[in-house]
Symmetry: C2
């Protein structure tokens, strides 16, 4: 039976080269058994975004509600999902509830909102745009193997299969705290990663996240890679791993070690729940 | 009767020149009738901060609980107040409840936490470090005139004296959302400002703030200056005032116009409540 994967871009656009590269990987792995359906919206541009808000929302709703698609793969992050997430999620129907959703970074806004409402199977993992990274074909292959056949080799290796899990970009999770899109993560192992922030912002973001009573109910946090830290005019004085340890200690949340996720080609898949 | 104002630095340090400049302004305005008491902690440096967490917390607690001080003036922002706010506030006693607290930017973490617990008179306004700005003496004079004699000319001119008000740096308020330090701002006119952020982050921060049910209970928002916007590799496509209007429209929060606050020498005083 053919697997059909819809690609939409709720944040920023991709270009034809990304679509062609990812399509070539799907063909190499699965031939005609997998079809990638790139919504034309993926290639639009309106200021920062892959089309105006109503256009991105409509594409997401159309693809998610399409009974002929098995999965929705978010094309890339950037920024913009929060402008369409609540509106789109409110419009999802029965077909959307049977689907799988995969993405990370800014797409975490949607992962959180969907998971919080129990819509579909939600996972944090590589996106089509990752084909542009060094070694990006491996990231795309890893995502496809999970989307198509739930290959256990794609999974983040520390998942124990017993406790529920969830994964987020720290900054994106911070922006969900205290909003209707914040999911209940009680008892979950929470995996966090980030990219392109100052040390002081990583610290501030973790202060925020770990101060929230809902997050304090997690089973523990595992820390993925915090990459491309922005140089500041003041040296912070603590590295990212010390910052993580600090906020776990202060909040009483268990620090469960490292996680193999991040803004890089090695980013592994973390299914929610 | 002499007014004694304690200065502490819960975030980043100041130097002697700031203390001397501000002391000279207090003397010029009030002679011997006003004494500025710079806690030695203001001049410490430990990585990013004006001393280690426990040192900054101890200085704040000591000054706030000192019955011989009438007011606490936060020396500057930067980053760091969130690492000491909850711990310090839990240790405040009767003398702290009779005091006035003034600051902005990162100090908003303390303003929010103090106001939420009904501790003292809390206000958003210029800090000692503002003496370094072009025209900074006017900012310092404005703050002193409010601290010492509640000069109405120091106040943000749109305050109506009827509805309660509160003012925050947007990013700092965002980091309080969903935490025990988030104050109840129901029925308040909320004034917001920000500095040194990308357009997309201003947008994301306002999405976050305006999505919170507690913030949706405000009487409305007035927008101060959003300055030094960081250039991005993608033009955002909307200016800060359009972003503000967008999120008020989406959230149903009333947009009550402009506010005369910001990271500049013109920043006016906004007493909370």
């Amino acid at each position: 039976m053919k697997t059909r994967i819809g690609v939409v871009a709720p944040s920023c656009p991709i270009d034809d080269a990304v679509a062609e590269g990812v399509t070539a990987r799907a063909r190499a792995l699965y031939g005609e058994a997998v079809e990638l359906v790139f919504h034309p919206q993926c290639f639009l541009s309106a200021g920062h975004f892959a089309g105006e808000d109503h256009v991105r929302e409509a594409a997401l709703v159309e693809a998610a509600n399409d009974p002929g698609l098995d999965a929705i793969w978010f094309a890339r992050g950037g920024y913009g999902a929060c402008r369409v997430a609540a509106g789109a999620i409110a419009r999802l129907g029965a077909a959307a509830r049977r689907k799988t959703y995969l993405g990370y970074s800014d797409a975490g806004t949607l992962l959180g909102g969907l998971y919080g409402r129990g819509i579909g199977t939600v996972a944090h993992g590589p996106m089509p745009v990752d084909i542009r990274r060094d070694g990006g074909e491996a990231a795309v292959d890893r995502a496809l193997r999970w989307l198509v056949e739930r290959d256990p080799a794609s999974l983040e290796p520390g998942l124990d299969g017993e406790r529920p899990a969830a994964a987020f970009n720290m900054t994106i999770l911070s922006m969900l705290i205290g909003t209707p899109l914040q999911p209940n993560l009680s008892g979950h192992v929470l995996l966090l990663e980030d990219v392109g922030e100052y040390h002081y912002r990583i610290d501030r973001t973790l202060c925020h996240i770990t101060s929230n009573p809902g997050i304090q109910a997690v089973a523990g946090i595992r820390f993925g890679r915090v990459s491309d830290i922005t140089p500041n005019d003041r040296a912070f004085g603590h590295e990212a791993d010390e910052i993580a340890a600090h906020w776990c200690r202060v909040s009483g949340i268990r620090h469960l070690g490292a996680a193999d996720i991040g803004h890089d080609a090695a980013n592994r898949v973390v299914p929610f729940g």
